[in-house]
Subunit: 193 residues, 2 copies
DNA sequence: CGATTCTTTGAAAACAGTCAATCTGTGTGG
DNA sequence: CCACACAGATTGACTGTTTTCAAAGAATCG
């Protein structure tokens, strides 16, 4: 299962067999059945995880106990609670498998060590972080500027591999609207075709 | 005016006189009168700017020509169009001075060079990026989970130095609500004290 | 099949947006 | 120094959208 992560990196940068071996020795494989948690609110997130297969989401609970979806991830994406990871503070989010999933997990220490030992990873990781930040800026812009319907369309177009794989009420909570409103948007949308 | 930037860095990491000199030689001072643009939509953002004094905002225009405020910045903050800067693509945002402002501007090339020449800057810059990313995650969470009133309160509490310095209709566009709604939230809020 | 989870529907109420008019404060030029 | 213009903020009436609540339908899974 490490091969998926190796393939991911090899597509972007050439790694020697020794480097791959080093990397493998620092990863560990984790299988998560549907509904299992990779991280729960209150824990410190000391790892990052690469999704080999399956589907997960991160979400937060508000004061009334309502769930708000922060992110969906599938194959070839990374998932982490960034704030907890970078500050060492208790996580405010939960990360849960929406399907049976396979992950390659890297501890923060291992990740740092690999970055030192394999300098070519540096620009790659920087690029991932930059893309991630830009995506979050786009999401903010959509959130403050677009109607629920436009946000839904953007979501479907931006993540076609995700939207038909996750429950609609979670999509609604990702878009910041109620599940009923999402239902109505969709039926309106279906008619207008 | 470089002294403000020097002080900013020196507070976080010790720099030798030579390093400071190198840095200074790569910065240039820019004065922006109120309403002037540091960056306009369509241009490529090839620099980052440190605010020495004054106040600026970045905003985007939607298809109907309405303004949506992405960010406010004051003294000791950095401002840049991240997507344009990192991808070299035309900016979708505008950066405009809300007051007469003074900036220290660093070209992308200079910034990269300084990072290579002064390795101690690396962790510092990483930390700034991380904080910036975490802040944007928090904003997304508030935007999808909280009511306009809660968002307003959070904004006022999080950025007390900004909210009483910028026009309210820009605060409204930052929060993703109309200026009239913000007025009503505020009057409601004032009564409830 | 029965239980759980997810989605849809309808009706009512709450909420936010729009439009148009008015008000307030600031600053500029006569 | 006043008057006017301008940008910004507020108000009210109205409209349209979204939420909420309750109930019922689908779909999925053991």
């Amino acid at each position: 299962m490490f091969s998926a992560l190796a393939a991911y990196f090899n597509e972007k940068v050439h790694l020697t067999p020794q480097e791959l071996e080093l990397m493998e020795s620092h990863c560990h494989y984790k299988k998560l059945p549907k509904k299992a948690f990779l991280l729960q609110e209150g824990e410190v997130c000391r790892f990052s995880a690469f999704v080999v297969s399956g589907c997960l989401r991160s979400y937060r609970l508000d004061d009334e106990g309502h769930e708000h979806t922060l992110k969906f991830v599938i194959k070839d994406w990374w998932i982490v609670d960034n704030e907890s990871y970078s500050n060492g503070t208790p996580a405010q989010s939960n990360i849960q498998a929406l399907e049976d999933s396979e992950l390659m997990v890297l501890s923060k220490e291992s990740f740092q060590l690999l970055l030192e030992q394999i300098p070519q990873l540096r620009p790659l990781v920087d690029r991932l972080q930059t893309n991630s930040f830009n995506a979050s800026q786009q999401r903010i812009y959509k959130q403050i500027s677009a109607s629920p319907e436009e946000r839904y369309k953007t979501f479907v177009n931006t993540y076609p591999d995700i939207f038909n794989r996750v429950p609609l009420h979670m999509v609604a909570s990702y878009l910041g609207i109620s599940r009923e409103t999402l239902t109505r948007i969709r039926s309106h949308f279906a008619k207008s075709k």
